[in-house]
Symmetry: C2
Subunit: 454 residues, 2 copies
């Protein structure tokens, strides 16, 4: 326990709840082109939050959505850069029990889109920085809040190129957008999968037509896409079939898998969290290998034709499939796109393959003193050291920051599997927020000691 | 030309247009459960139309939507029963250039959902009957207008059972819900394909989940359905792969195919009507075989997951596919469902297969004197005899009427391929309406002569 940080957190609980509500109630859905005004309003609110605690705050713009940049302390000082994102996924699922963009408090749970991914953790980081500043930490602190994480951070490289100098001397980067293996077992990701989004489009006619009149003679584009997708991916085995895609995927050693299996990941808890009727592997080692270290191929949605009540017996004129792959170290997003393009073109030259956002995979070293410091902080505050895990998701900014800032990047988030990243009825909870303040505060103290020693 | 009938038609053109507008502007979408009030209003409007010309008109109800029944002349007389339907397909296609349920007149074209399928032809039949009555035809006439044709006529059998007696002595049935092979070549269908609608459902989880967190471990139901659908149907060859489905499909003789090829069907006109980028056969004989005499498997829409802007990187919890098959003589809808159920259950026991409406295929004999009479009428009025064709679509009422009424059923519609059955920007045109009045009027006269001779 970190008594001082805990008291600070508890003293700011109602402030945290009020501010989280304000952020959640701005639907900053980055993939919805109509949400510009809400994004700008959220960016302004974020500036005000930082200034409330005495930081300087500015909007950085490089095209696309703004970035919120906050700074505490003398810019000349080595600083800890904390990255979060304030954009969110859409919330169109029918399973939402309340308005997704009205925050609801249920006991210590905060329900609403963006509460855990990633507005709650962002606010937790800000609270911790404010605490460190108040007690006179010799470290500098910077906040970088993005509004395009959920669409693959298309402008992040440009941001780093244009504003590298302004970021100055960065001692370490904290990314608080990852998940613990469970509420009982804090964990730190040592890697993330990459991402490649794709849109597959097939137009076979000018207009939808009566399937009694043209059926059997005119091609069905939904059936055409189905054929192509089934050739790309074997859903039964969960295996990618496109030649070349898996060629460069780096295998993971059994020793590393041992580490992951020891993390405390529980197959039944994983199954029941999402209510899966079946899994692609039931052995924990195999399941973790698939979730953390292997590429995926997912179909997110198929458009075209008719989806209303009953059957509208048409042969549609067009169909589209939204697809993405998670990538692992070794795989190049560009090469993956090229392999799929070539394969699909051979199957059906009418199918267009359009890339939609990408990020390479990322792995870090856990031997860095900053990582060991986080482990010590966890031991002290949470009563147990960090399990080491990989994140199956993707944060495009991570690889870019690691390369440009040449500082260790720690993937140390606060979310729990049951919080429902990208899912209906997403929530965050006060215990995780309070633990976050304690954990990060202790890590800052560890870093100060490292700096003194170093 | 039938001078008297033509003058009658021309004299009623503005009446026809006004009444067609009234019918079209009631969106009688039978597969939309919220359209009950519009359907009842349309049924009332239909009663008024029949009474306007001195017929008696009642609503027959057997559960489901009402049927409009009209009668002209002494119920004891042998009558011609004319079948049409007043329900329509949805009109949700983005390609509509105007409001689908506001009729727009463009030259002699009447644009709007239902104009050609089947409100325009229904009104044409009514006009012709009124003409025959006015000139003192010795025949009786009955009209039967349905509101559930587009959802597979689920109550038609029951209607026939309960109201057979009221229909009395039926001399012949005219179904004016079919298409000419082209504007230059009137044609009569000697058969129709049957229909079997299916909904395939796959739920693999309780909630949509982040594909970075569960991807690779949790199954993707869209990919699962894609696998099953691809195993059922080879979109490249346009071939059904489900064992048993094709077993009882009656082959068509080359002599019969010769007849169809001579109908004047034109491959390039077919292609350009719908703007197909490719066809499943380019040889006219092969294309006609596929369109008129072979079963189909069409995917009409696939739901589940995310279809909005951008990519929402989730593993969906469920997916559904709307599918239908057109059936040919010999195939039993129930046996087809059973074959698909068995096949799909082997592939993936979690996939549910739910039947959604069905109709057997239908073939008639062209040697019936009533058919020969229609051919003579066409020769006289349109200057050329009827090409014989098959209809690739399905009209469930047809097989039921043929069986229950034991009268020849003539599939002699007025629509043209370019009118856009089930398609956006559907239209009907005055020339076809006027030709219809002339053709049907002459057929009635032929029937009177047959009756005298017979």
């Amino acid at each position: 326990m970190n008594h001082d940080a805990r008291a600070w957190a508890e003293g700011h609980r109602s402030y945290f709840e009020d501010q989280l509500r304000s952020l959640v109630e701005l639907p900053t859905i980055s993939m919805d082109p109509t949400r510009g005004p809400e994004t700008e309003a959220c960016a302004e609110a974020a500036l005000a939050l930082i200034r409330h605690f005495g930081g300087t705050a500015t909007l950085l713009r490089v095209g696309g959505k703004p970035y919120v940049h906050g700074r505490f302390g003398d810019p000349g000082r080595p600083s800890v850069l904390v990255y979060n994102h304030l954009d969110v996924q859409p919330a169109d699922e029918p399973e939402w029990k309340g308005e997704p963009f009205r925050m609801r408090i249920d006991g210590e749970r905060y329900l609403g889109r963006g509460t855990t991914d990633d507005k709650g953790p962002a606010l937790t980081c800000l609270l911790t920085i404010a605490h460190a500043v108040r007690r006179g930490s010799p470290l500098g602190f910077q906040l970088l809040w993005e509004f395009e994480e959920e669409v693959g951070s298309p402008h992040f490289s440009e941001l780093m190129r244009e504003h590298r100098a302004a970021l100055g001397n960065v001692r370490a980067v904290l990314v608080s957008d990852t998940l613990w293996v469970s509420a009982e077992q804090p964990s730190m990701d040592v890697g993330l999968r990459g991402f490649q989004g794709l849109l597959l489009k097939l137009r076979t006619a000018e207009v939808d037509a009566h399937s009694g009149v043209v059926g059997g003679g005119g091609p069905n584009p939904l059936a055409g896409l189905v054929r192509v997708l089934a050739a790309c991916f074997d859903a039964s085995a969960g295996r990618i079939l496109v030649p070349g895609v898996l060629d460069d995927a780096a295998p993971v050693s059994e020793a590393e898998m041992d580490l992951y299996v020891r993390s405390g990941f529980d197959v039944e808890r994983f199954r029941s969290t999402y209510g899966f009727r079946r899994l692609l592997a039931s052995n924990p080692r195999e399941l973790l290998r698939r979730l953390w270290t292997e590429p995926t191929f997912e179909i997110h949605g198929i458009s075209g034709g008719y989806q209303g009540p009953g059957i509208k017996s048409i042969v549609p004129a067009w169909a589209e499939a939204k697809v993405s792959l998670r990538l692992v170290p070794g795989q190049s997003p560009a090469k993956v796109v090229e392999s799929i393009r070539r394969f699909v073109a051979e199957l059906d030259p009418l199918v267009e393959v359009l890339p939609l956002g990408s990020a390479p995979a990322f792995v870090t070293s856990v031997d860095a003193p900053e990582c060991k410091a986080m482990d010590r902080a966890a031991e002290r505050v949470l009563g147990k050291g960090l399990a080491l895990t990989r994140g199956g998701g993707s944060i495009p900014a991570v690889a870019i920051m690691a390369e440009v800032l040449r500082a260790p990047v720690l993937l140390m988030g606060l979310s729990l599997p049951e919080h429902g990243y990208h899912a209906p009825n997403e929530f965050f909870d006060w215990t995780q927020a309070r633990r976050g303040v304690e954990l990060y505060a202790s890590w800052f103290e560890e870093l100060e000691r490292l700096s003194v020693r170093g």
